[in-house]
């Protein structure tokens, strides 16, 4: 943890009056969504929330399906907290926080049945598409889960399924079958408690002051598809209900931004 004790105290004491970047408590920082940033990937996106920046890339491969779902494609989410993004990150195998991030993003996409995995079957029991969603943090200034979740779904929406050549190999020369079968746009929104006050889209310093953190992913029809509470402190049910309502409201705005970015990409 790199934040000074004095800064922590300052943020905690002042949070009820104002945030250190003058935002209101449920206000997001400026979000930018870019598509098609990695030409070699089947789909990609760069998302910035304030100074936080992530890149999400989709790679696809043919693999064997799981025995309990022989006719379904496979989704895998992985994230890299590269040492370039923050002095707090160390190189090496994924740690707790990056595993949690991957799994929360994964659940948002999987549980909302966003990807129609049945359409990703090539040969039942033998060959299915495996969709790898890899997320790398470029700069860490908090709220990594929301940035990663926005990046992952944007990359999926812009991804193209590669053509399979006659000899059964994947064509990597830019020949595509078409878009991935996507049915929804789950968006995770994370809020935390600082000095028992609900604060949305926390930057890195705020995150380090947060007693408890709650992520809620919402789909198009405003239902929730995934939730995760983190942080060492408890939350009341009222606080959780309030945070889930903020998530409904904010996810709507962000979903429109994603849709606009994807529309622009396809134009």
């Amino acid at each position: 943890m790199t934040i000074l004790y004095q800064n922590k105290q300052y943020i905690r004491d002042n949070i009820t009056k104002k945030r250190d970047d003058e935002r209101s408590n449920d206000e997001f920082r400026k979000i930018t969504i870019e598509t098609g940033v990695i030409g070699r990937a089947e789909g990609s996106a760069r998302v910035k929330i304030g100074d936080t920046e992530i890149i999400a890339g989709i790679k696809m491969d043919i693999g064997k399906p799981f025995p309990d779902s022989p006719a379904e494609g496979v989704i895998m989410v992985n994230s890299e907290f590269s040492a370039l993004a923050s002095p707090d990150f160390e190189n090496g195998p994924p740690r707790e926080d990056s595993i949690e991030l991957s799994r929360v993003v994964d659940r948002g996409i999987r549980e909302s049945k966003t990807l129609d995995v049945e359409k990703l079957c090539v040969e039942e029991g033998e060959k299915v598409w495996m969709v790898f969603i890899d997320i790398t943090i470029v700069n860490h200034d908090g709220n990594l889960i929301d940035a990663a979740g926005i990046g992952a779904i944007t990359a999926l929406l812009t991804a193209q399924i590669p053509k399979i050549d006659k000899d059964g190999t994947i064509n990597r020369d830019g020949k595509f079958e078409g878009a991935l079968p996507i049915r929804d746009i789950p968006v995770p929104i994370t809020s935390g408690l600082i000095n028992n006050t609900i604060v949305t889209d926390m930057n890195k310093n705020e995150t380090e002051c947060a007693e408890a953190i709650f992520t809620v992913a919402t789909i198009k029809n405003e239902n929730y598809c995934a939730m995760q509470k983190a942080g060492p402190s408890e939350m009341t049910d009222e606080q959780m209900l309030k945070i889930s309502e903020i998530a409904q409201k904010e996810s709507k705005k962000i979903r429109s931004a994603i849709e606009a970015a994807v529309k622009k990409h396809k134009a």
């Binding site: 509470k229 939350m235 009341t236 209900l241």
Partner: protein
């Protein structure tokens, strides 16, 4: 989880009764034993339905690894593991992404009640072994963990117990069993503190409307009550 639901699990609720005969708001049978591992500072064994968990606390003791020492308070090290023979397909031993994440949320679920500041620079090791899994393993492990911590004599502000609220055949139900978890629509593990019913763990995957989420929270509050009673009864019985 495959989307192919076996015929016998297509109807999980019939005449408001579940496949194991329970009502929608009924917990599975609970059995808790205290002090089952003599070499541990504190331990507990728990059965909730067919889910069986052993919990052991070692410490407070010297913190290891040393670079993880916190000069202000004890560090709680949680290791949750599903043993290889606990499920129908063998679980590969050693940490997985799933067990890493569950260890983390379990630590957070317990940290807020433990008076960690009583033991600066020390470590408390909490090991949770799932010996048989039939849904709700993290919830069951948390319920066992706070009993083991109490048995170890570690000061706490309250007990923590956990259960799951799920949605099966479009209805909300308490404490899902294996088939209900596998073939149901939603699963929401939740942990609460005995004294104020505040929430220390909540995860959800599946589909909930705003109203369903609200109802699920109040169902959880009601359902967890008997778990606190079972925890207290087990501790009382041990010291009698």
């Amino acid at each position: 989880m495959g989307s192919n639901v076996p015929e016998k699990y297509k109807t999980l609720i019939k005449d408001d009764k579940r496949i194991d005969g329970r009502k929608l708001d009924e917990l599975r049978p609970v059995k808790i034993e205290v002090g089952v591992i003599p070499s541990a500072s504190g331990s507990a064994y728990i059965e909730i339905g067919n889910t069986k968990v052993l919990a052991a606390v070692h410490g407070p003791k010297e913190m290891f690894p040393r670079h993880m020492i916190d000069e202000d308070k004890a560090v709680l090290n949680v290791r949750y593991a599903m043993l290889p023979f606990s499920t129908s397909d063998r679980v590969r031993p050693g940490p997985s992404r799933r067990s890493n994440e569950i260890s983390k949320v379990t630590r957070h679920a317990l940290e807020s009640v433990i008076c960690l500041e009583e033991y600066p620079a020390m470590g408390i090791d909490l090991t949770l072994d799932i010996i048989q899994a039939d849904a709700g393993t993290r919830a069951t492990a948390i319920t066992a963990a706070s009993v083991a911590l109490a048995h170890a004599g570690i000061p706490m502000k309250g007990l923590v117990a956990a259960t799951a609220i799920g949605k099966i055949n479009d209805k909300l139900a308490v404490d899902l069993n294996g088939p209900e978890d596998n073939f149901g629509q939603t699963d929401m593990p939740i942990a609460m503190i005995s004294t104020n019913k505040n929430i220390t763990l909540l995860q959800m995957d599946g589909d909930f409307s705003k109203e369903e989420f609200k109802t699920a929270l109040s169902m959880a509050k009601k359902a967890i009550g008997p778990l606190f009673e079972a925890q207290k009864a087990a501790l009382r019985k041990y010291y009698e």
